[in-house]
Symmetry: C2
Subunit: 247 residues, 2 copies
């Protein structure tokens, strides 16, 4: 975690997104201090959500964990807490979607008391069965909080242009990864910018046109990227960003 924060700052980036499962390594307070010392912003904390559960007791435990995620985001001074909304607890997908609506209403009240912004990240429909019942940007916009747009998750959507325009003022994060076709792995088969089928520049321009001026996070789940030397990975993604995204 410390290596990530300081390495990202050293490579000249202005912000870094953190994941909760790695936060335990040093704690939210220490992570915030390291980021302040390095002069880098914490763009987001991933992730709250996973609201659905088979019974009320299990759902309450999930909500308590989300309250802790809000507290951690507040301690970090993260701009956004990212919510991944699912999967459903049974094959009743619509029931799962109703649980998400109710949970976000409750969590938003708590987040307001901590001054933490919530953002729903719609995931690719590939994940509807095991990660998120929210699978389009249009659907995410019905949930009343902010949204995170990830090129990997939304690029296929015939309504993308209209949905991004409708997101104006509510975009709290913008993630980039490319789509490899066919995906070499359902979860960890995402592509380095420029290696896949997505017109990343078009999506960046749409997000620009919607008025988004916040950080852009590159989020690539792929063992071949993780195997790179961290400084080399940061340099590569900078070069790919300039080639395939900027301008």
């Amino acid at each position: 975690m410390v290596e990530l924060i300081e390495g990202t700052a050293r490579a000249g980036y202005g912000a870094v997104g953190l994941w909760r499962d790695r936060l335990d390594e040093c704690g939210a307070g220490a992570a915030r201090n390291r980021a302040l010392a390095a002069g880098i912003q914490i763009s987001s904390l991933c992730r709250g959500g996973w609201f659905c559960a088979p019974d009320a007791i299990a759902r309450r435990a999930r909500m308590e964990d989300n309250f802790r995620a809000v507290d951690e985001a507040a301690q970090l001074g993260a701009l956004t807490l990212v919510l991944v909304c699912g999967p459903a607890a049974s094959n009743d997908l619509e029931a799962g979607r109703r649980e998400v609506v109710e949970a976000i209403e409750e969590l938003a009240e708590y987040a307001a008391t901590r001054d933490v912004a919530l953002a729903v990240e719609p995931l690719h429909p590939l994940y509807c069965g095991d990660r998120s019942v929210v699978v389009t940007l249009a659907q995410a916009l019905t949930l009343g909080v902010g949204v995170v747009i990830d090129s990997y998750h939304v690029w296929w959507d015939p309504q993308l242009e209209a949905s991004i325009a409708s997101s104006a003022g509510r975009i709290l994060g913008f993630h980039l990864a490319d789509w490899l076709a066919p995906p070499p792995d359902p979860l960890n088969g995402r592509g380095m910018l420029g290696d896949g089928t997505i017109d990343l520049r078009r999506i960046r321009r749409l997000v620009d046109s919607a008025g988004y001026e916040g950080p852009i996070e590159v989020e690539i789940f792929n063992p071949s990227v993780w195997a790179l030397d961290p400084a080399e990975a940061l340099e590569l993604l900078g070069a790919r960003y300039r080639e395939h995204v900027a301008g």
Copy 2:
């Protein structure tokens, strides 16, 4: 092919869908005669489509192949020629989608002269990069021909109920397979009815409510299903249909 036609008839089913890549085994005329003799209807021919190509010459070759597919469907007396529309020839997804619109306009004129019904099958967005730029039922409905609804491809769609209702009168096929989460393979990881996350009965009822009364095809790309004894596979899917789909 002959084994499929006769085995399906023997198991008591009233219709069977055929694939073009296996049609060469016996030819369309012979397949039709076998089906007539066995008293079974040929519900559909899979597939036309794959319209997009990097240049006009290649696109023309694809169109010629689609004309042949229409001719084969006519020879078979198949109710429908199923179209799989993609992928795009480049990272310009919207250009690929425009090519599909133009190609279907041309193919529909030809199909009308052969009295063959065309139906676009929207594929799961998982396939947007390598198989189909048409990824939702709502999008398929804009293309002016019929549609095929496959539970595996559409189950995740937040607009599913409305889109199926809008399909009334244009549904020319209904396919069933379950979704395994996460998919064990991007192409051949589809599930036997009841093994996955889809509320198949709900989708069948929606399709019923839209007035569809044609054949229901079970289409499961999965080596573990293909490894079954054919008669056993037909019996298993009948049992699963009664348990998870009928009623």
